[in-house]
Symmetry: C2
């Protein structure tokens, strides 16, 4: 889209004022952080990266493929399978219709899963069959580190004390993410305060503040899932049910822009093992990853309920409704 | 105005969502408050009253008319003089034009000022001349407690430690307010975090969150001042210069409503001697007062610079521009 954003409408002013008053370079913390310091970031709804904040964790110090295999020996795990590493993401089906496509969820032993993920680099380099090219990602986001992966839980912090004290609550969910560089998590937002901790490999975040709603081109997408056909090939299958409102713009690609997208200045940060990211509630995030030498990427994140009281939530909601209303006309 | 607010436009949704998620009854704190607890209120941009937070201050314990006279003996002070207690307020002139009218500023000895203010109740009851009916209010808002009234400063806290630590700054201004029940401060907002401390008498606040912009009927008012004519009578005199954007709706009176005003649910709080109010940045406030038995009302407030980084300021600005745009059409 080549149109310019309307120069002096309230939405253009909102996005440009924010960008003038806020850097698109992330704040970096080293050493230590207190609950009060953390609360100052929460108050501003601004992210930071805490370099090395988890470098002493047992997980960061000891996890690798053999160690994880030993810890999870014989256990069955839930795996998201997709043809292109696009779990929970806006994807066109064969007819060109844009759908919100969920992954095919399958169970397998942890050993089979981690071998498949870690050896994929080798396999893709050689000639792989279509099922060998599939992308697998353990990403259930259902508090899996205190359930499915409970045997690993003692290797990370139970909660994040500076966040628990500041927010006056324990985490609502603690999630483990294991995949490789072929998985990408599409731009989306969550109603949670998120403390994201890198354990193995790297994660690359592109972040947009919630008031950039008008840039992300939210659309109502029919829900769908990948399912295997009789030959075991993954096919997109539309589901009935309510449409899913979802961002369709990808800050790293042409296409699906709104007139406002060019105003967005994504904040980019790469997490190294032991780094922590505070990803504030309602921020849009797109997440890609790079593997360790063993061919995996592993992270843990803590979701804390966000505060719906106060001004932030109603105002962000207002920016969203206003953006949708203007873009519809 | 009898029109109903549009039922499902984004501004109606903004105001009603906020009211559903936030009580219009103010939070009360007793005992103690830490910087972290304070920061949680700043993060939500929500007011609280800290009952008795300043009850041990020397000011609260010792100030009264004779004591203040002794402390300020012979000193000349700046006094705002108005015919109706309406300093800095939208007022109609003789032609019915709505103006932003500033008070007549005069200098007098503190003794003359405080006698005039404290004896006004008696005077108004008997037949007073028009100049005896004038309302005087010491309200310069220019850091007067560290300048004009510096001899009183050691009787209050230098800063408010829990606010100074949380906000990482010393107060930008500390102001003393001395008047009687005939002065009212019109609904307005400030770009400051405000800690307001009642010393003598009572103050009655009506508070509206910043996102209620569309309720307050902001208009561009020509500036004016009260000036004395040759007979010493206060007259409104229009000034040249830029118009002043100012709220014209009074939550306690009919008139000047917008279609959204009826959605507002003002939060009301009365401060007693020794009480402190946290009045968050950008909140609209209308302030009236009740005298002590001596016929005065006295308060001290601390203004801290607000945070322009983060989401709050751009989003409030957006709610304002959107409200103005909708109301203009
Ligand atoms: O790590 C990922 O792939 C996505 C993380 C994410 O979306 C989250 O933590 O909310
Ligand atoms: O006390 C008053 O009359 C007004 C106080 C006020 O507006 C303020 O503290 O910002």
């Amino acid at each position: 889209m080549d149109e310019e954003p309307p120069p002096s409408d309230p939405i253009t002013e909102l996005i440009t004022t924010y960008n003038e008053l806020n850097s698109s370079v992330i704040s970096e913390i080293t050493g230590n952080i207190s609950p009060l310091e953390f609360m100052r970031y929460v108050a501003r709804n601004r992210p930071f990266v805490f370099r090395g904040g988890a470098s002493e964790w047992e997980a960061t110090q000891t996890w690798n493929v053999p160690e994880l295999k030993a810890l999870l020996k014989g256990q069955s795990v839930n795996v998201a399978v997709t043809p292109k590493g696009n779990a929970d993401s806006p994807t066109r089906d064969g007819d060109g219709e844009l759908l919100f496509v969920k992954p095919c969820e399958e169970h397998q032993t942890f050993e089979e899963f981690i071998d498949f993920v870690s050896q994929q680099g080798v396999r893709v380099a050689t000639s792989a069959t279509s099922s060998e090219k599939e992308i697998r990602y353990a990403q259930t986001q259902n508090d899996n580190l205190r359930n499915e992966y409970a045997t690993l839980f003692s290797h990370v912090e139970r909660d994040i004390p500076w966040a628990r004290i500041a927010l006056q609550q324990v985490p609502e969910a603690i999630n483990l993410w294991i995949g490789n560089s072929l998985s990408t998590t599409a731009l989306h937002k969550d109603n949670y305060e998120n403390i994201y901790v890198q354990i193995i490999g790297q994660k690359h975040f592109a972040l947009l503040p919630p008031l950039d709603y008008a840039c992300v081109n939210e659309q109502e997408l029919p829900p769908a899932s990948y399912m295997r056909d009789e030959d075991g090939i993954l096919k997109i299958v539309k589901e009935g049910g309510e449409k899913v409102p979802f961002a369709t713009w990808d800050p790293d690609r042409e296409g699906n822009e709104t007139v406002y997208s060019k105003l967005a200045t994504p904040m980019r940060v790469t997490l190294m093992p032991g780094d922590m990211l505070y990803l504030p509630a309602l921020w849009y995030h797109k997440v890609s990853q790079s593997c360790s030498e063993e061919g995996i990427c592993c992270a843990v994140n803590y979701w804390f309920d966000m505060e719906f009281g106060g001004s932030l939530y109603p105002l962000c909601n207002f920016a969203r409704s206003s953006g949708l209303a203007v873009l519809k006309t």
